[in-house]
Symmetry: C2
Subunit: 123 residues, 2 copies
Amino acid sequence: MKIGELAARTGVSIRSLRYYEEQGLLSPLRSDNGYREFSPLAEEQVRTIQLYLQLGLSTDQIAGFLHCVLKNREAFCNEVLPIYREKLAEIDSQIQLLQNIKLNLEDRIRSILDERPEGQVEE
Amino acid sequence: MKIGELAARTGVSIRSLRYYEEQGLLSPLRSDNGYREFSPLAEEQVRTIQLYLQLGLSTDQIAGFLHCVLKNREAFCNEVLPIYREKLAEIDSQIQLLQNIKLNLEDRIRSILDERPEGQVEE
DNA sequence: ATAAACCGTGACATTGGTGTGAGGGTCAAG
DNA sequence: CTTGACCCTCACACCAATGTCACGGTTTAT
């Protein structure tokens, strides 16, 4: 199938599909006229890529194990687990950072409300 | 004081101080030779800017109320509260997103460990 | 044969605070 | 007068996936 059809089937933009190829995540054949020709398997492949992107992995990381997970169960691809763990640690520290900011903001909001029960003043 | 001294006092890079000026957060005078001349008050001003940046506010948002909060208590600056609330909502949704990814990652890690108690396989 | 709907590549914009380097003034001390 | 430590502006790089032009070739249907 051509790129437009793949885009329609997956909901992923043509631009992104071309980018995935550039990053080594897709390897469509080329027709004589230069058009990309995707196998039917590409559809699932794209959904898999999207799934990993939504986990916050980079195309670089995905490229490292995509080949394997398309053929095997994830558990058989040794690249995956360390990347998941690394990502999890990263997420945890981001959450921590955001929680701290959140507490800080809540404090400050409370202070303002305490100090100014209803009256307001302009600059 | 000149920019180098302000940078040394606050720990903020010269580059950043110039950027703050560009964003309207600092308005140093200029000496005859073109050098920026900061008042002693600038030191506290920079610390205040840093504080807001660490809350995740943009220079644009900070510019909207910095003038006021430097002269009054935050509670008297009406711009502040809505921005805090907006930021808080944003933070909450980011945390939510990260929590979802975290749960997803933990599930997937668990699946892999369940499925592969110890044996590994190469690609 | 012509228009509409595809496809191709290349390249710049986005986000936003900061790093970094080029190229060039200013000024104080030796 | 020279050296070194300041200062100035301008401008590109970064991160990374995606949007969006421009410009041009191909295919399909009328």
